[in-house]
Amino acid sequence: MADEKIPRRDFLKGAGAAGAGAAAIATGLTACGEETKTAQATAAPAEPEVWHTLNATEAEFIKAAVDTLIPADELTPSGTDVGLATFIDRQLAGGFGNGAKLYRQGPFLPGKPELGYQLALTPREFFRAGIEATNEWTKKTYGKEFDRLTQEQRDEAMKALESGKPEFTGFSSAMFFDALLTITQEGFFADPMYGGNKNKVAWKMIGFPGLPASYREEIKTYYNKKYDKEPQSIADFS
């Protein structure tokens, strides 16, 4: 395929700049697109992109997915730019990803959804399988892997996953979508020390003040009043 000759990252840069740039123009805000990133890079070298567990294909998929679920707009930069791919990579590389607190004895039998997760896969393995299945499906449907789709196609593909329409083997595409959305929102709203929610952007977006030491007086003085304080993270107290 012709696309294979295009180095993946370069291709992505182009797509990302086109999508995110529009948002930046609309709002006049910074840190939304690759163009802004490049400008910043001349001032301070960008952090190298390193992965604990994701391979290159998976990393590009996750970046494209979090940018679709959390697109750049006037409220926050894109999912990737607020650290969500980093967050997901670290979560999948650690205890959670490797099945901590997950009962893993067989037999593994299919069950009603209400009985909960019944696969033999750890979350790390489940994401690997979900990414592979999604890319297979987008290749069949659009002729390309998910991260190479246009933003409109990514949105459409994500909606298809959400509805459970693509047929996956062993689990439903809706189940993979749920896992993807859950971990993305965990990273978006978790304390920034885990790698997502960079600069507390998600907390600022909603007005969550993080973890001040006490609201003993504020519970009364801010009754039905906006509490408009700079959020505090664990690092701010450490």
Binding site: M205, I219, Y222
Partner: protein, 591 residues
């Protein structure tokens, strides 16, 4: 090889609320007591310290303080014809682990059961006729009354420094408290907590409709407090990191704060952590437990601890598992209705209500205590006429967000996409401008909702997992429809921008979303050994030196959180042991 240890006066299994209470009461009576806890030590100073305790991802979503489901869990099926599958990760409920148990990460809602809650079968039969109770509903009376338990509620409330407003002092009704409660001998030790926008808005709306709202009785201390044991609590700072977390202010009552500081230094008490009890050795002839076998989880070595008295204070599932696995009492058979161990497993029926959104208000959900809000009991228990309703029991309706932790506590109006720009805009707009008005209902026992040993799946010690056969029933769903409609009617008077349509759980029991850690039954108490595992003193009918504590003793579940009732019944049982059993060890009641 099992190492046999020297006999002690009493061994206590599990160091949550009931194990800590029994350990304290028995050492005070002069007994040498060994406490066995499968988990590790937890001290507020070391383990619940700021800032790291305020980590939503770790504590709430990665289950830091909860039972390790890789080692042990339960299996679930909706009815007897299905194959049960393991709950491979926690969701619907969150049992605790480590010293303090779930008592270190609860939210602090502390109730007294209503008078009728103790006599469910006889009350409804008498008032509405035998047909009011469906044929396969196996509700029972407790064998004790509210009046029996009152002094022990008072004792537990004072241990915990409960903040609340009395509604019935020695028979005198007090407006602003819960006028439906049974008569209490004293006020709560602390005044009610502050109220937030959600609670005040609900309180006004409920009052205007003629209902009787009152502040949630709470183990989050509204003032600094010293309890009768001499343990001290700090004042609640409304940090919004309560349930799922330990409290860095010592303001949430827990075994770790309210008992262990005086119990641990007592030379009559020895705590062994990482001591995972596998089995009780049972002498069927003598009707006695002779010893407890536990595994040191650090080394894998097994120990046998002989004891004069055995207190079983684990969680509902392990209490039932240890009785079944050790062969104590007759396992329940749902087909014949005979047998008792595993019978009357119940849960909590939550989430019957609405969400309200206000585009011009600030609810500040992040300023909150765990047990927080305004509640009404006008549609709870038999506080209202059930004629023609087609169900028995009911629930309390409340409002008052306990937190604004953003991974788990967000709402957007119906129809909002779950992701993308529209989701972001709606989340940004509404995060600080909503709350739920919602009912929490009782869950009554049925013939075919029960616990037994799973035929297939094993725990880390090689024992069968507990198999839960459970589903919600029509009685629950009818209460749900009723409470959600009442919640909707109240919410409609609040001048909210949006009131969602009423919702309730009308499908099968779903193990995935959190509902409540109020699992009950399996080793139930009662007046008759053919229908209960324990007598009214929580003494096993089949082993006179075995006393079983906690929510596994409830014949059915009331709408309220279980900690108040199980704390009171622990003190009630401890009193029977120290004043009656020690003088004359043997059955305290004869069938």
């Amino acid at each position: 090889m099992v190492t046999k240890l020297k006999e002690v006066d009493a061994v206590v299994i599990g160091m949550g609320w009931t194990g800590s209470i029994l350990s304290r009461e028995l050492t005070k009576a002069g007994l040498n007591v060994v406490g066995l806890e499968r988990g590790a030590m937890r001290t507020p100073r070391e383990d619940f310290a700021i800032p790291n305790i305020r980590d939503e991802l770790k504590y709430q979503h990665r289950h830091e303080l909860f039972q390790d489901t890789a080692a042990e869990t339960v299996t679930l099926r909706h009815n007897m014809s299905e194959t049960a599958l393991p709950m491979r990760r926690l969701g619907s409920f969150l049992p605790g682990n480590n010293v303090g148990g779930a008592g270190s990460h609860w939210n602090g809602a502390t109730w007294r059961r209503l008078e009728v809650d103790y006599i469910v079968r006889s009350h409804y039969t008498q008032k509405y006729g035998a047909k009011a109770i469906p044929a396969d509903m196996t509700v029972q009376d407790f064998g004790v009354t509210y009046a029996d338990m009152e002094p022990y509620y008072d004792k537990f409330e004072k241990l915990c420094g409960i903040s609340g407003q009395a509604g019935n002092l020695k028979g005198q009704k007090i407006e602003g408290g819960n006028i439906f409660e049974g008569p209490r001998s004293d006020h709560y030790p602390n005044k009610p907590l502050a109220r937030n926008f959600a609670a005040s808005t609900f309180e006004t709306a409920a009052k205007n409709l003629g209902y009787h709202p009152f502040p949630q009785p709470s183990a989050n201390a509204s003032e600094a407090y010293t309890n009768p044991e001499g343990a001290t609590m700090g004042q609640c700072v409304y940090c919004g990191f309560c349930e799922r977390f330990g409290c860095e202010s010592n303001a949430k009552a827990s075994p770790n704060v309210n008992i262990l500081p005086v119990l641990l230094p007592d030379p009559k008490f020895e705590l062994r952590t990482h001591a995972y009890v596998k089995k009780l050795n049972y002498d069927k002839q003598q009707k006695k437990v002779t010893s407890v076998v536990y595994v040191d989880t650090r080394t894998g070595e097994e120990y046998e601890q002989p004891a004069g008295i055995v207190i079983l204070g684990a969680y509902v599932f392990n209490n039932t598992l240890l009785m079944l696995y050790s062969g104590i009492g007759t396992p329940y058979d749902p087909v014949t209705g005979k047998g008792v161990v595993g019978k009357n497993y119940c849960y909590q029926y939550t989430g019957s209500g609405v969400t309200v959104f206000f585009d011009d208000k600030e609810t500040n959900p992040f300023m909150a205590a765990g047990a927080f809000g305004s509640i009404m009991d006008d549609f709870n228990s038999d506080n209202f006429d059930h004629s023609g309703l087609g169900f028995i029991g009911g629930g309390h309706i409340s409002a008052g967000l306990s937190n604004g932790r953003p991974i788990g506590t967000r709402a957007t109006p119906p129809g909002t996409p779950k992701w993308g720009k529209e989701w972001k805009a709606a989340t940004a707009k509404w995060y600080r401008r909503w709350f739920d008005v919602s009912g929490t209902a009782c869950n009554y026992a049925y013939r075919d909702n029960y616990l037994d040993l799973d035929p297939t799946y094993k725990d880390v010690l090689g024992r069968p997992l507990i198999r839960m056969t459970f589903n919600f029933k029509d009685n629950d769903r009818k209460i749900g429809a009723f409470l959600s409609q009442k919640s909707f009617e109240i919410a409609k008077t609040m001048n909210a921008t949006i009131v969602t349509p009423p919702r309730y759980r009308d499908g099968d029991y779903d193990s995935r979303p959190y509902q409540s850690t109020h699992n009950t039954g399996g080793t139930i108490m009662g007046a008759d050994p053919s229908t209960s595992v324990l007598n009214k003193y929580l003494q096993a009918w089949d082993a006179h030196n075995l006393f079983v504590m906690g929510a596994s003793t409830f014949p059915q579940n009331q709408s309220y959180n279980p900690t108040g009732p199980l704390g009171a019944s622990a003190y009630w049982s401890a009193n029977a042991i120290t004043t009656q059993y020690l003088k004359n060890p043997g059955p305290l009641l004869h069938a």
